[in-house]
């Protein structure tokens, strides 16, 4: 089934996310990041950070949660078993930090056919609860073999 183009531009309700130190440490360990600034508050403060910073790809945790809402929208018509991850981009205003109270708003940014496949771009805007911009997470999924047949071709 082809993706529903009418949902391009649709923003979903914001999700709340409270950033804990242990979660940031757990994620840093999971990607093999050993720099003390990601694990030790004193090292983080000595380097000028108000608290433990997140490693750059941590924001994907928020985008995964926002994505579950978007991809689960029956109106979108996405079959997740056909999906592979195509591209990923992060645009940062500042690092995520322990103690941040964040809002993550998912949006269908684009849905377009590419040959027999479709590309679906999800943008997740991350801000603090006070509205301070933190980062934008842009993930593009490839939906295999779901493009509608083109006119004049079988």
């Amino acid at each position: 089934m082809a993706l529903n183009q009418a949902l391009v531009g649709k923003a979903y309700p914001a999700l709340r996310y409270e950033v804990g130190r242990e979660k940031l440490r757990e994620f840093a360990i999971a990607v093999g990041e050993t720099d003390p600034i990601y694990h030790d508050e004193a090292a983080a403060r000595a380097a000028g950070h108000p608290d433990l910073p997140a490693v750059p790809t941590f924001a994907v945790v928020l985008s995964l949660r926002a994505g579950q809402v978007v991809y689960g929208d029956p109106e979108l018509g996405l079959d997740y078993s056909r999906v592979v991850h195509g591209e990923q981009e992060f645009v940062y205003h500042r690092p995520i930090r322990a103690g941040d109270r964040l809002l993550a708003t998912g949006k269908v940014a684009a849905a377009q056919a590419k040959g027999r496949h479709e590309l679906l771009t999800l943008e997740t805007e991350v801000t603090t609860e006070d509205g301070e911009p933190v980062c934008l997470v842009r993930g593009t999924l490839l939906s295999r073999g779901t493009a509608p047949p083109r006119e004049g071709r079988a």
């Binding site: 490693v55 750059p56 994907v60 981009e89």
Partner: protein, 136 residues
Amino acid sequence: MSPRVNLAEVRPGDTLPEVAETIERMDLVRYAGASGDFNPIHWNDEVAKAVGLPGVIAHGMYSMGVAARMVTGWVGDPAAIKRLRVRFSTMIEPGQTLTVKGEVAEVDGGRVLVRFHAEDEKGEKVLSKGEAELEL
């Protein structure tokens, strides 16, 4: 929050210290838990084979997380990273070593563009078109 690299010495063509990681299945289980991405193709061979894969494959975002270490290790301060992007090109399986390579592509005032990729042991690009935009 001073960066580890000295901007005055950064030149296009400078290479970043490589990062190499041999991926174990345990790494993928740990990444699944830490990230919340529990797609079974990353930890269950039966499910992976049922969808046509040779066996479990690494999360693309695990590889990107490893690749980001090359940039953070070089620049020091994560606040210097303004943009990070990759394309996922080839899958990589546990038992393989992922090697991340990058170089400075542009220097414009305090802005530095690093281009990078990550490859498997055969030299196939797992991550391609990697870009990190930094402000030093």
